[in-house]
């Protein structure tokens, strides 16, 4: 695949709130090449979700520009190729798992036969076959996360934006998601995800960027960044300035 | 494991069923109690003592008034009495006229029955409202439902034994049924309760006088049918006293005086009956000038 999956140029987002303004992002530049797995890291409140919302066109940036596969993020064409998993994902509780997937397929205007086969495939891959025709309101936290991931994958998107995909999952649940991401990587998809699980990031990512207070403080291959810090976790604590608070 | 799941499912289903059943039962009970207590209490008139009773009775009078207006609306086929309006040439107004007809109209014949539920509600909510009962009777007679009308009148007589209008209607029904002697008795009683010594200027008194004339007319006709001509003449002369200068009555008196006492023909009674048939349909609360009765 040619070109860059994601490009952000001088992206600034300022929220106006009652207490004044909040600079969630201050002029970040970031390039995610297509076909790579990119880890987007940062402490709570760093601005990761905000950046993703800009990419999806939920927020108009105060200044700067973002594009996906060369298309401006404000147009709906850009979203044709994206799959997005929000943080704390919730599906329509009154639908069954299968209906929820079918809904995603129709919104992407897929053929009915295609929708059927794809839903079946994903339900199998994510271990949801038995629960497929049960209301989502009866799902556990992990099943909810998986059905939402399946929903995200219905259109077989080229770019996946996953906001903490393993958040709140047990080790086996995390394992399943990791396997899924690996599988997508081998199929040449671009994956842009945020996570607080640094060991997992170290294992999976081609490159990472670390965000702190709305600015990118580090970017590169995990192995190269770790260097003398021995682990990504130590490095992360150092560059985000949280090390001093905790101590060595 | 299997059994636990099953019992949970059944338990939830049962719970839900009981929940719904409770809601429906409670609501139905509340609804019927509200309706019933309103109707029952006020037909007995014993609630008037307590404050709540008084409040309820005020509320039910208001409600019965609303039902009465509704009855009037039904008589006019749902078209409310028109009042002065602006914007008659606006788009909305013209379109509304098309969708909701607003021309003056009345119900006729069998379709008069559609008014009855509202009158029934009025009589249930406010048993003292004798006008509503009389209107019901009037409409029932138009519909030739004499049995029903008689039942309503009997009811009305129980609550208002001294109302001459109730007795007058009863008399008319008996005449229709050819029960002449019963009619005579009841109209005599009606005459006794028809007090006309009041001012004679106000609408109420005028109505009473008109009623008195009707009673006397019927009594005269009955007397004539029974061959009691001199008494018939007396009755008619009493009418002349109230409404002097009535040409028709005067000629009838002259004709009666010419005939020998004891000769009965029943023509007066026939004339009254056919007059009643031809009487145009009217609804007493319809007081608007443009209501072409």
């Amino acid at each position: 695949m040619k070109g860059n999956g994601i490009e952000m140029r001088g992206l600034t987002v300022t929220y106006a709130s009652r207490m004044g303004t909040v600079n969630a992002l201050s002029g970040i530049n970031l390039t995610v090449p297509s076909g790579s797995v990119f880890g987007f890291l940062g402490p709570n409140g760093a601005g990761k979700t905000t950046a993703m919302h800009v990419l999806l066109g939920f927020i108009t940036p105060t200044s700067g520009h973002a594009s996906i596969f060369g298309e401006d993020v404000q147009g709906s064409i850009a979203r044709q190729r994206i799959g997005y998993l929000p943080e704390h994902p919730i599906a329509y509780r009154f639908l069954t798992g299968r209906e929820y997937l079918q809904m995603a397929g129709s919104l992407f205007l897929l053929e009915p036969t295609q929708i059927k086969s794809r839903a079946k495939l994903l339900l199998g891959q994510l271990d949801l076959i038995d629960a497929a025709d049960r209301r989502i309101s009866t799902y556990s936290r992990g099943m909810m996360q998986r059905i939402c991931l399946a929903h995200t994958l219905m259109s077989d998107p080229d770019l996946l934006i996953l906001d903490e995909p393993t958040g709140g999952l047990d080790p086996s649940g995390r394992m399943k998601i990791r396997m899924m991401i690996n599988d997508l990587r081998t199929r040449g998809k671009t994956i842009f995800f945020s996570s607080h699980e640094l060991s997992e990031v170290e294992l999976m990512c081609d490159s990472v960027a670390i965000l702190a207070d709305g600015e990118i403080v580090a970017e590169g291959k995990p192995a190269a960044l770790v260097g003398e810090d021995k682990s990504l976790e130590r490095y992360f604590l150092r560059v985000t300035g949280t090390e001093k608070e905790i101590g060595p | 494991m299997e059994t636990i799941t099953n019992s949970t499912v059944n338990g939830r289903r049962r719970e839900r069923f009981y929940g719904w059943a409770a809601v429906i039962i409670l609501w139905t009970t509340a609804f019927s109690m509200a309706c019933y207590s309103d109707i029952a209490k006020h037909s007995e008139h014993n609630a008037a003592g307590s404050t709540i009773g008084r409040l309820l009775s005020k509320a039910s009078i208001g409600l019965s008034q609303a039902c009465y207006e509704r009855a009037d609306l039904y008589f006019h086929k749902g078209v409310p009495h028109s009042s002065k309006k602006a914007l008659a040439d606006s788009f909305y107004h013209i379109l509304n006229e098309e969708i909701n007809p607003s021309s003056h109209a009345h119900r006729h014949g069998r379709s008069l029955a559609e008014i009855m539920p509202w009158l029934k509600l009025v009589t249930s909510l406010d048993p003292g409202n004798i006008e509503a009962r009389l209107n019901a009777v009037f409409l029932l007679m138009k519909m030739k439902e004499f049995d029903v009308a008689e039942k309503v009148l009997m009811d009305a007589r129980r609550t208002n034994p001294k109302d001459h209008r109730v007795l007058l209607y009863l008399g008319r029904i008996y005449v229709k049924r050819e029960k002449i002697s019963e009619a005579g008795q009841i109209l005599e009683t009606a005459l006794r309760f028809c007090h006309d010594e009041a001012c004679a200027g106000c609408d109420h008194c005028k109505d009473t006088l008109i009623d008195k004339r009707a009673i006397l007319l019927y009594l005269a006709a009955i007397d004539e049918a029974e061959g009691n001509l001199s008494q018939a003449v007396e009755r008619l002369e009493a009418i002349i006293e109230i409404f002097p200068g009535s040409h028709e009555i005067e000629t009838t008196i002259k004709a009666l005086k010419k005939r020998p006492d004891g000769e009965s023909s029943g023509i007066l009674l026939e004339a009254l009956k056919s007059h009643e048939e031809a009487e145009s349909q009217t609804f007493s609360s319809c007081t608007v000038p443009d209501c072409e009765h």
Partner: protein, 264 residues
């Protein structure tokens, strides 16, 4: 605007209405109410159904408004509250499609609920020995459905910027006024002073006129069907009104910064 996306969103609204049980409660209440009214003994006369139609249709209009407003005003706020709006808008779904789909779903759901009401009423009237006149029944239902469309559009408009309770309250006030107060303006205006008069006239012309969709008088009092041309006029008026309300909703919603649910 892709019709299939709109239909998909509308279908989801319909499934929600079908599976949440609140509409059934209203239907049961309606049934009980009509049966209670039917059991009134009218001096022993049979075949009297006008008042049953009257009360039944009044209840149907009332419940129709309640269903339309509850369903339409909860759509957008609930999506935002449950965080489901994000995966939805992350797809190539435009906000215009979202609003149209939500409106269509709410309207269809409420209209089908009303169809159940009408059929129930028709059956009960039949049991009481009466009948509805076919064409008038059809016209009355058709215009009622149109009115529900307008009410749903009002609900959607308010819910773009307000939470669902506030939106529902405002929708009730607006729809109630459009139904009961606005038609009275010609009567009031006769005695109004200069400034008041202009205010009333402005209201009269800009507010939706829901009374135009109400054919109950023809149904209850046997006036027979209205002319199809006037029906067509009213339907076109309704479409214009709905279009206007949806465009306003779109203007209010198109750049809205969606709030994140507090799920922490």
């Amino acid at each position: 605007m892709k019709i299939r996306r709109i239909i998909t969103i509308a279908k989801t609204v319909w499934l929600e209405a079908l599976r949440r049980k609140d509409v059934y409660v209203l239907l049961i209440l309606l049934g009980i109410m009509i049966v209670a009214v039917m059991s009134l003994d009218i001096f022993g006369l049979g075949g009297v159904v006008g008042y049953v139609k009257d009360v039944g249709l009044l209840a149907a209009w009332f419940f129709g408004m309640v269903v339309a407003i509850t369903i339409s005003t909860r759509q957008l706020p609930d999506e935002e509250k449950a965080n489901t709006i994000f995966p939805l808008l992350a797809k190539p779904v435009t906000r215009a499609e979202l609003l149209t789909g939500k409106w269509a779903g709410a309207t269809v759901s409420a209209t089908i609920a009303m169809l159940a009401c009408y059929l129930l009423l028709a059956v009960l009237v039949k049991l009481k020995g009466g009948a509805f006149e076919g064409f008038t029944f059809l016209q009355c239902y058709l215009l009622h459905a149109w009115a529900i469309g307008v009410i749903c559009a009002i609900g959607i408009l308010f819910s773009t910027r307000l939470n669902k309770d506030a939106a529902a309250t405002l929708s009730y006030v607006t729809a109630g006024a459009a139904f009961l107060l606005i038609p009275q303006i010609p009567r009031i205006v006769v005695n109004a002073q200069c400034v008041q008069r202009s205010g009333l006239l402005v209201l009269y012309y800009i507010m939706p006129h829901l009374e135009l969709f109400d054919m109950r008088r023809r149904m209850v009092h046997d006036w027979g069907p209205a002319s199809w041309s006037s029906l067509l006029y009213v339907m076109i008026y309704g479409l214009v009104l709905i279009g206007l309300l949806l465009v306003l909703s779109w203007l209010a919603y198109r750049r809205k910064v969606l709030s994140r649910a507090d799920l922490f």
